[in-house]
Amino acid sequence: MKNLTYLKDVVTLKLDENKCNGCGMCLEVCPHQVFKTTGKHAVIQDRDACMECGACAKNCPAAAIFVQSGVGCAAAVINSMLGTNNPGCSCVAETGGARKDQRTGCC
């Protein structure tokens, strides 16, 4: 089966190659092989495959990765637009404010 890809040129992923210490943690945690390594540092090889889960940024000891992490779930986005807290879906795509640890997830 071909690997599924979502929309082009939308994700917020950024990698600061100068800050990167080449530890390779992002290659390990990324579920979509977005990164590869040059041997010295990581580079983004497939940006459109990123699903903004935030694993790479969270596990980067050099804080070289930025991603506006969240959950790509339309139901959660609708819930937050309607301002309702849906009981069947405890997902909230993102909560107001920029505090990353408030972002909640779903499936």
């Binding site: 969270k58 596990n59 790509g72 499936c107």
Partner: protein, 386 residues
């Protein structure tokens, strides 16, 4: 106390009716507030005593009540009782050198993990994720750095094992900062494979995962298991809309109210069922083979196919204007509903980003709503013209 508040809040959330629930299936579950796992849980087979104390023992063999509970959870029945007590468990007969695997306290996650390790002796450290699976909980932050540190401290793990290695599922990484866990507890986090069935190979290879083990896919089986809960969540709005459309079918038209309702109204109910079939069943099953990247486009496409099929079966006389208008109305409504339902499946998929979903919704939602409203108005009008 904080814990009590959380429990009552999540329990309250669960009892509210699910009306517009979308695709997600991460309802929270309450758990026992004690520090050690309860020994009366049905899957606990015994206890194991070590120098560090006694721990509940579990087996890798699932029993009938485990399978029954999984089946119920997949259909969204009694999800509030679907958590495992957090804490440290012994699978088989682990000793102070055995590997430590970390899991969520969602029972399906816990069962998948132990089922994947027949004949192994390992420690299972279960975090309190409110009965939510690893990936959802990592996104929410309940499968998180702080919770992991708390459980390492409170579970007597440090006494139970002599090494400083803990193995986490790769999908838990969005919630855990591995370097922080090491700084604060001394334990080094090893990210294991995505799928539980790869764990034995990962352990045998000396905690090395292959590229394939690290790659998230979305195969047919994974797409199919999510269909039932989608359908369960659609039932209520479906029943409501179907009743309304059936009654609206009686208005105008050639015959009496009941006669019209049975013809136009019944077809409306059938059409709505077709839209659900297209958006919530066919779409997930055929996802990789449908045109377009956006889920709405895929759903729109299946909706068109289903609409054309249903209209063909209805055998309308397309020479007459009312029949043409009716057919046109359904070609608007069915694809719109199917596209909406397909879009809601983004939350179940394993590869959609929030930025992408927002972009898709900005473009697709207004189109879906306009199509549905215009379609219903045109459908009503079709029986008022002659």
């Amino acid at each position: 106390m904080n814990i009590d508040k959380n429990i009552s809040a999540s329990a309250k959330m669960i009892t509210l009716p699910v009306i517009e629930a979308g695709s997600c299936r991460c309802g929270e579950t309450k758990v026992s507030a004690g520090t050690a796992p309860n020994l009366n849980q049905p899957f606990v087979t015994g206890v194991i005593s070590t120098g560090a104390g006694t721990f509940p023992q579990v087996s890798s063999a699932l029993r009938w009540h485990d399978h029954w509970a999984t089946l119920k959870a997949r259909w969204g029945i009694g999800r509030m009782n679907y958590a495992v007590d957090p804490g440290l468990y012994a699978l088989g007969n682990p000793d102070n050198n055995s590997p430590v695997l970390v899991s969520a306290n969602y029972k399906i996650s816990f069962d998948k993990l132990r089922k994947a390790l027949p004949g192994s002796s390992v420690w299972l450290l279960v975090l309190d994720t409110k009965g939510i699976n690893v990936w959802c909980a990592a996104g929410k932050g309940t499968f998180g750095t702080q919770e992991l540190i708390n459980k390492i401290e409170s579970s007597r793990l440090k006494e139970a094992v002599d090494h400083k290695k803990i193995i986490l599922p790769q999908l838990g990484a969005p919630g855990i900062a591995a370097h922080e866990v090491r700084q604060r507890t001394g334990f080094k986090v090893y990210y294991g494979p995505i799928r539980a069935e790869d764990i034995p190979a990962y352990l045998d290879a000396g905690l090395k995962a292959t590229t394939k083990m690290r790659l998230m896919t979305f195969p047919l089986k994974d797409r199919a298991v999510l269909i039932p809960v989608e359908l369960v969540e659609i039932i209520k709005p479906f029943m409501f809309l179907a009743s309304v459309l059936f009654l609206l079918g009686g208005i105008g038209g050639p015959g009496g109210f009941l006669e019209n309702a049975l013809s136009y109204g019944s077809f409306a109910v059938l059409a709505l069922s077709g839209a659900v079939l297209a958006g919530a069943v066919i779409n997930p099953l055929l996802l990789p083979y449908l045109p377009g990247r956006a889920f709405s486009i895929k759903g729109f496409f299946t909706g068109i196919i289903v609409a054309l099929t249903l209209l063909y079966l209805r055998g309308l006389d397309l020479q007459a204007w009312p029949a043409r208008v009716e057919a046109f109305a359904w070609l608007l409504i069915i694809p719109a509903v199917a596209a909406y339902l397909a879009m809601n499946f983004t939350g179940c998929s394993t590869y959609t980003s929030l930025s992408g979903v927002k972009k898709e919704m900005r473009l697709a939602l207004p189109v879906q709503i306009s199509m549905a409203i215009c379609g219903i108005l045109i459908w009503l009008t079709s029986r008022l013209i002659t």
